[in-house]
């Protein structure tokens, strides 16, 4: 009566390396033969951001994975050890653990396992926020990774996830004297940023992550970055990135091989789970996948249009 497989979805466990992770696989429709080379497809692997389960907020990853699979890109959403349904101990300070590449080795191993198990030509790794950090480290560590899609990445060590603040906290920051001081301090930080000389990373930069990021960008790996719009109240989404525009900093000397595409989605929030965020990511990501890893679905559509 209970099954682990539906028409285009399957619940699987990856554990070739002895570390079990629970996952949901989204298969391509039967009439789709592949993406990339003639019969070997490019897959998309979704990572957890912090402790959010593999569906992501508002089940947005389910939506994207289903959509990508329908376009010829088999997708896998995994729960890293200790997160979602996967067993394991979770670090007390999960943000620091992730910032220090704590999940990098296991994520890279699972990219490889996903690729081998489904006979893929390669894998695009999708990471949101802290998941983007793990994606960058993992992409640097495995040759099966052929591309990156990351949303609202941050490159500082003290991540400030403003949307995680509860309404009570936001209200407190608005109403209290201490909150007023904090807001003024933030304004001064913004000012200080303007005075910073070009090319120098801020003191709170995650240098190891930035180094990996630079290498990936310079290597010519196709990378698609989405940023959410600028919060009107707190000034700028760069608050999450420690007031320094790391993306701009890196693209300024990325070189000719760089294949970095950047999109800012105004009007969505940090989770990208609303209708606008979901649809925009889907549209741009699918176009990007078709461009870098052409699928037969796209080619068929192109023929129909012609």
């Amino acid at each position: 009566m209970i099954c682990d497989k539906l028409e285009t979805r399957q619940l699987i466990t990856l554990g070739a390396d002895g570390i079990l992770v629970r996952a949901t696989y989204h298969d391509v429709p039967r009439n789709t033969t592949g993406s990339g080379s003639a019969d070997r497809k490019i897959g998309v692997l979704f990572l957890n951001p912090l402790s959010t389960p593999r569906t992501l907020i508002g089940d947005s990853a389910v939506y994207w994975a289903s959509s990508f699979a329908a376009q010829g890109y088999p997708s896998l959403r995994i729960d890293l050890p200790g997160l979602g349904d996967s067993y394991g101990e979770v670090a007390k300070d999960l943000v620091t653990f992730i910032n220090n590449a704590g999940f990098a080795a296991i994520a890279a191993a699972k990219v490889k396992e996903f690729s081998e198990r489904f006979g893929l030509a390669g894998v695009v790794v999708y990471g949101h926020c802290a998941g983007a950090t793990t994606a960058i480290y993992a992409a640097s560590a495995c040759e099966e990774c052929k591309g990156l899609i990351i949303t609202d990445p941050y490159f500082n060590v003290a991540n400030m996830l403003t949307p995680k603040l509860s309404p009570g906290m936001v209200d407190w920051a608005r109403r209290t004297k201490v909150g007023e001081v904090l807001r003024a301090a933030y304004a001064r930080l913004r000012e200080a940023r303007k005075n910073r000389s070009n090319g120098t990373l801020p003191g709170n930069a995650n240098v190891n992550l930035v180094t990996h990021w630079k290498q990936l960008v310079s290597s010519g790996l196709p990378i698609l970055v989405f940023k959410s719009g600028e919060p009107a109240t707190l000034g700028s989404s760069k608050l999450r990135a420690g007031t320094f525009d790391y993306l701009e900093h890196i693209t300024s000397f990325a070189g000719q091989k760089s294949q970095l595409s950047l999109h800012t989605i105004e009007g969505t929030n940090h989770s990208f789970a609303d209708r606008l965020g979901r649809a925009t990511i889907r549209e741009h990501a699918e176009a990007w996948l078709h461009k870098h890893f052409p699928s037969e679905v796209a080619e068929k559509r192109s023929l129909i249009v012609q």
């Binding site: 569906t55 403003t162 995680k164």
Partner: protein, 277 residues
């Protein structure tokens, strides 16, 4: 620092966790069966509302593992149209979710090795569990922070969601929660946390409440002649329930202070022996 570089030793109860799709009309529910041999009892865990799923997920799972390690078989699941389950959220109603719970409990009762069935609901899940229990399902009921009615859940969810949203908007574009309540009253849909709330769901929530016998000061257990435990959880239970200012940042919290007495209550009220994990 946690290391994932060596082969982990998995407890037997973790290896016996079976994820699957349970068929319901027009959709499949994502279920995880924490299977145990010769179970002393079975518990159907009925979780919080869609938006709270991701914050409570780990703690809810910890509770399932805690019980399974003590020979109590557990099933947890995602509501139709939510999480890993299929189905369309906008087509859902509280009634349809109760129907799904009754289907799951019927399936649990048909499993080999007869064992008493307990329904355990958290927040909105408490409301749904109470309805199913009221309809005759299950031998015992545990409610954690069940609201008096579903509208309270929707209102508090929307109020929590609106704060961070305001940060993104200019002063002139900001709207108070009452604005969204009015839209729903007027028959418009509102998108909250990635879920589109329909006016039908909103209207149903107004009349979808705890059965009268479960509202204080009534003696619920006496009314149903089956064991019932109703617990109101405080902020210390975050992120299992929302309430703490920085909910979601407490990824590895110890809940033994909550789990132990609830497990002991289940064992004593059903007359089953206490098992060491």
């Amino acid at each position: 620092m946690v290391e994932f570089t060596q082969v982990q030793q998995y407890p037997e109860s973790v290896l016996a966790e079976r994820a699957g799709y349970f068929p319901v009309p027009g959709a499949h529910l994502y279920t995880v069966l924490h299977e145990v041999e010769a179970p002393l009892a079975r518990v159907l865990l009925i979780g919080p509302f869609a938006s709270e799923r991701h914050t409570s997920y780990r703690s809810w799972l910890q509770w399932a593992r805690y019980l399974a390690a003590r020979r109590i078989e557990v099933v947890r699941f995602d509501y139709r149209g939510v999480g890993e389950s299929t189905g369309v959220f906008t087509d859902m109603s509280f009634r349809s979710w109760v129907d799904d719970i009754e289907r799951l409990s019927a399936w649990l009762r048909e499993r080999e090795e007869n064992a008493p069935l307990i329904m355990h609901g958290l927040e909105m899940g408490g409301l749904l569990a109470a309805k199913a229990f009221h309809n005759g399902e299950a031998d015992a009921l545990v409610l954690w922070s069940a609201p008096v009615n579903a509208n309270k859940v929707l209102r508090s969810t929307l109020q929590r969601w609106i704060g961070p949203q305001q940060l993104l908007k200019r002063e002139e574009d900001r709207r108070p929660p009452s604005h969204y309540f009015r839209l729903l009253d007027e028959g418009q849909s509102v998108e909250v946390d990635g879920y589109e709330w329909t006016p039908e769901l909103w209207r149903e929530s107004l009349s979808f409440g705890l059965p009268g016998a479960m509202v204080p000061p009534n003696d619920t257990a006496a009314s149903y002649r089956r064991p019932v435990r109703i617990v109101q959880l405080g902020k210390s239970a975050a992120p299992l329930v929302l309430g703490g200012l920085l909910h979601g940042f407490e990824e590895s919290k110890d809940f033994s202070w909550l789990f132990a007495p609830n497990y002991e209550w289940i064992a004593s009220s059903l007359g089953i022996p206490l098992e060491a994990a």
